[in-house]
Assembly symmetry: C2
Homo-oligomer: 415 residues x 2
């Protein structure tokens, strides 16, 4: 099997055809979950899956499973997948790549007449992005028992439409019974700049960073910028600027892939000659180890108390979200690394900074991910881009990692 | 004359009656320039002026001059005044106090039968606030030949209405010929916290700070907060936070009443888990000396170049506005100080951080200002507040400083 390769042109062609659904003028994709665009993308995937001889099932939260039988009917399936929904200004590859790569693996095996011991599945998880309905990673979260089905079905979009009604509306409220997975592999663009910066093709993903998000309010006193001497000010934006510095200092000082970001900031009254009386902002801390993440947060708490005294402001830090760090299955990760090495692809171990369906699936099945470079590390953007060669390389790693896990039973072709 | 005092209750009553025009539910005033509210306030002032026996004239930009004759018809008038327009969410005292205090001085002289050598005038300048039409301090600016009349008459509000049409519309496009002033005195709330913090009643205003305003754009690269390592970021908000710190550091390091404020800040894309790619912000630098203000700006330029290199961002600084520092006439300032001392009022020298009509009038007449405390230093706000006692104290200083300049000719009362 070591010479088996996926069809680069077919993978690229499928991605480009899929990207026409919800295509935006700037070359991106707007395919919000459970909209008509999502339905059309699902329908196309289902059609292609059936054309490839796969058995398609949909579960109650709209996750689609397209299965190719193995020789051992008792073996739990080895699944590959990701999601077909996008951000409002999304790109062609985030999510779509993982689903199309899984499909391409099964098409390749079908062409080559390879039978696996364990069944193989391609999965499209519902609502990974969380743009229309929260929580993010909804479908994989329900699959992994993170969220009760009844809870997510009742979630509403901005117009008051529930997930349950939206699923019904597009015809993807399925009845498939829950089933276990023997393993899960997800191919994805990196969404970061590391692989491109180092000129490597494959990221062997060790796991995902834990995340702790805060809402922050800095309260001072707004006052006229002219008549108020510096020493009598209670400048909320000066306080917020110190918090931004502190978040960045902490993220650079701590180990274990520490990251710290202040991405949102709103000033009141936001007038050039008025000292700001209130700033609302956010903190996003990430780390590969839960204990280190906790230590970063404790350090921020201490820093904020000092900033309050120095800047004569009051700072309220409210935890908003917590995702624990995720470590993928070492044997699965080793399988990805071995496949990349056997294919002669340059690779490196990497930790995912973002959440992915794989993070939830990892709670119920041995899981790993495969990253490939994306141009400039840019994602969640219409200009998101990846090369056909890199997309094919990641898909070949997926093929061989999946085969390694599922086991080859027999083939028309010589090994 | 040293025992002569204004009528505290009448001054307070006039201010409160005037504040009913454009009154807001929160106790403030919305009286945008050249609106119907402004017209009603002008009409009330003109009626009161005529009732006090004053001769009223209106010039081509709507400035109102209410004159009480002196015994020396050749002497240039000593004027007192301020403005009747307000910010959209303004208070009862900003501007209104200076006009009502001038009127109260003339009512007091009338009651006491005091005749002055030089004529006395109360002036209400058009559009000091600049909220509806720019530039700010429009009427006094035209009077002092800072702006050509034709230029300001052509200025448009957000609905496309010109100053010329608005003046015509409220009936205040006058025909008074330009005339010189022998002196000008403006009583005003401090709009800052210094007098209140020190427990003093009178601010003897030395002049006004020069101002230099910048528009600032910080350009980095927006990227996903999770997958982007700290060392590969180009975080525009991190750069902006450094600029905020630098502006504050400079303002604290330089002498001559240096002030530095970042009051406005806008982040793109402003999402909690996206590293900001662009920040638009502003800098407001003020100083009593032009050379020191220049040095502050040069220091900021240098600081910004270092921030660009450190944070891997590009910073564009564009000068937006420049007001040169203003020094009031030393003899006029001494007259205010002497009046405060003679009245036994606690006082201190102070520099105005804000612009006032007096800053422009100072270019064409010997000028000084009198500050009184306002609660919490708060102004341009519906909760702006001052006490009847402080308002009366400032008005008594105005009375005696004006008398000192105009000269007492004769009186029914013994001096």
């Amino acid at each position: 099997m070591t010479n088996l390769r996926i069809n680069t042109e077919r993978l690229w062609g499928s991605l480009m055809e899929l990207a026409r659904i919800g295509a935006t003028p700037k070359g991106g994709v707007k395919r919000l979950t459970l909209t008509d665009e999502d339905r059309r993308a699902r329908d196309l995937f289902v059609r292609w899956a059936r054309e490839a001889g796969l058995a398609v099932e949909v579960d109650a939260v709209g996750n689609i499973f397209a299965r190719r039988a193995g020789t051992d009917a008792a073996a739990a399936p080895v699944a590959m997948g990701s999601h077909l929904d996008s951000q409002p200004s999304g790109g062609k590859f985030d999510g779509a790549y993982g689903v199309m790569a899984g499909l391409e693996v099964l098409r390749t095996l079908e062409d080559a007449g390879v039978r696996t011991r364990a069944p193989l599945e391609v999965v499209s998880w519902t609502n990974e992005e969380g743009s229309r309905f929260t929580p993010v990673m909804m479908g994989s979260g329900v699959f992994a028992n993170v969220f009760p089905l009844s809870h997510v079905r009742a979630q509403k979009d901005i117009d008051g439409v529930t997930v349950g009604d939206a699923l019904q509306g597009i015809g993807y409220a399925g009845a498939a019974a829950p089933h276990g997975l023997g393993a899960y592999l997800e191919a994805h663009i990196e969404q970061g700049p590391v692989l491109e910066a180092e000129g490597r093709t494959i990221g062997v993903v060790q796991g995902a960073l834990g995340q702790r998000w805060y809402d922050v309010t800095v309260t001072g006193q707004d006052a006229h910028a002219g008549p108020t001497p510096m020493e009598l000010r209670r400048d909320a934006l000066l306080g917020a600027s110190r918090i931004i510095q502190e978040v960045n200092r902490i993220a650079r000082a701590f180990p274990d892939n520490a990251r710290g970001t202040v991405g949102f900031l709103q000033v009141k009254p936001n007038s050039r000659n008025v000292i700001p009386g209130e700033v609302r902002t956010t903190v996003d801390f990430r780390n590969a180890r839960a204990a280190t993440l906790d230590a970063m947060c404790a350090e921020l708490e201490r820093g904020v108390r000092a900033i309050e005294a120095e800047c004569r402001v009051r700072v309220e830090l409210r935890e908003n979200t917590y995702f624990q760090p995720c470590e993928f299955d070492p044997a699965m990760v080793a399988g990805v690394r071995a496949a990349a090495a056997a294919l002669g692809l340059s690779h490196r171990d990497i930790v995912s900074g973002a959440g992915h369906d794989a993070v939830y699936v990892a709670r119920v099945a041995p899981t790993a991910m495969i990253f490939i470079p994306c141009e400039g590390g840019i994602s969640h953007n219409e200009i998101e881009s990846a090369t056909p060669a890199d997309l094919a390389a990641g898909c070949n790693v997926l093929l061989h990692a999946a085969l390694g896990k599922a086991g080859v039973a027999d083939s028309r072709r010589a090994a």
